[in-house]
Amino acid sequence: MRFTLPQPKRRRRSPASSSSHVRVGRPSTPLNGGPVAPTTEYIGGRRRRTSASKGAGSIFANTKRSAPLMRRIVLTVLICASLGLITVTYRGGVVISSAQLAVLEVVAPIERGMSRAWDPIAGAWYWTGDLLSATTENPKLRERNEALEAELVIARDEASEAVQLRERLGIDDRGHYPTNYDQVDGRVIARYSSAVDKSLVIDLGSNDGIERNDPVLVNANLIGRITNVTPNSARVALILENSQSVTAAISGSDGSGVLESLSTEGTPVMRLKYVDASAKVEKFDRVVTAGWTTGDLSSIYPRGIPIGWVSSVGLKPADLEQTVQVTPYANFERIETITVLVPKGDRVQYDTPAKDAGGLDALDAARRVDPVLPTPSTKTPKVTPAATTTTKDDVTQ
């Protein structure tokens, strides 16, 4: 039995034009767009093409056959254009980046509309998936919830005590998370995920007070930072990207290091590098942003944003550093809503080198580690007009 694709319905036409491929006043031949005669022949059960049937599989038989020279020229031009774009993009082309942002700004409302239209279906999809795992997860979550409630009481006491101590010691808590940050909620309107690309576009932009390098959270857990901003949309670089790193500390320990993506297959795993061998690190320890400050430089992430938990610790006798693997708290496969941390008060802005070119952060590509914006010797901070002077303490980002 031979399977054939369903054919489109024949359109009824007037007798004058009843033959869709025969023009009035002309003889019907394949050369002038007429019907192609069934010229295929079966030899040994296989279909052999004859010269007359070349291109006959096309709807547009007269346009499908392309001259070899033209084919080569077009292919060469397109490949050269692609290679040119790759070169310019990865070298930090500002023009390309600007054009990309302009297009993103134009399509952002469309993406927002389509994303919202799909929300109910996505909700049903996720709900079905969650339902299947809820039965097994429920007892574990109840147990975990009780433990967390107990921890919360202790944490609240310690937090109020910490505030009092800060006031007594006169510690400037500018940049302290979360008290000195506004939290702006937004939605993901476009995303792309492949073995090497992980990108989110959100519906917040400079009109919402968002700026480049603002931290992005999901359920209070760090997932990345803003890399490109348009008035109504922004791109988020996830901490799972190969080009991203975060300085992180282990809560309740003196261990700290640089967190980088190790594996994104299945449950993502990150690696905390440069953790001193003498640091006390145990499995299930919480990993948070380190939020360090050195002189005029500081991390773009404030201290204390939860990132994940220690899932594995390894230390060989001769090692100077521990091998610490971290599992992020956030579920990167299902990010629908996000929170962007916007510093309260005046922002400090810096002259930065070329902005992100495409999806690659040129600055991070050079530095790789938890981007620290420029060194005081080469860059002078620009303070927004509301502030008249800049001190070291102002430089929190």
């Binding site: 489109p8 019907p35 084919r71 389509m114 995303r191 190969n242 080009s243 594996s263």
Partner: protein, 182 residues
């Protein structure tokens, strides 16, 4: 006129597919993979319209996905151009309208090429990429999803192009679509 109308329709199809891909396609997670609707649309267009058109639409698709999702420009365009061209040549060599195997095979090959070729380009040009995790499992799953969607999407694209062709006053060679056989 019909040529222009068809090309406009196919280009719009690619742009819409790219928008659907970034807003909806990647929210449909099956295992660790999502359906790659865009490359299937490009594959169908390439099969139906030839290698030059396939390459051009592949390039357009690569540009659209990078622009709409804020990805680096170029790598997607390069791989999709080559995939579109190769599938277009396949369509020029094979009679495709009478059997589901060519669209199915082309969809599978193009998806696999995209899933492997794109990370390969990134690995070659981006020094920050030290390894590519989950490449094979993701490529396998995405290709399996494409195998399911390839033929329906091919039929959809063919319907759209035929409609656009007839609306713009073209005289489609419908002998190859079954009408001529009657």
């Amino acid at each position: 006129m019909s040529f222009v109308g068809t090309r406009i329709a196919s280009a719009l199809l690619v742009v819409c597919a790219a928008l659907v891909q970034v807003t909806i396609g990647h929210r449909i997670e099956i295992g660790a993979a999502s359906p790659d609707l865009l490359i299937l649309i490009v594959t169908a267009i390439a099969l139906l319209t030839g290698s030059i058109s396939g390459a051009a639409h592949g390039f357009l698709a690569g540009m659209c996905i990078a622009l709409f999702a804020g990805l680096p420009l170029g790598p997607h365009a390069l791989v999709a151009t080559l995939a579109g061209f190769a599938v277009g040549r396949l369509g020029e060599v094979l009679v495709t309208d009478e059997h589901p195997i060519p669209p199915l095979a082309a969809g599978i090959v193009a998806t696999a090429a995209m899933q492997i070729g794109r990370p390969l380009v990134e690995f070659l040009v981006n020094p920050a990429v030290a390894s590519v995790d989950g490449l094979w499992s993701r490529a396998f799953l995405t290709t399996a999803i494409s195998a399911v969607l390839a033929v329906p999407l091919y039929l959809l694209v063919r319907r759209v192009l035929i409609t656009a062709h007839s609306w713009s006053g073209g005289t489609a060679d419908t002998a190859n679509l079954g009408e001529g056989a009657a």
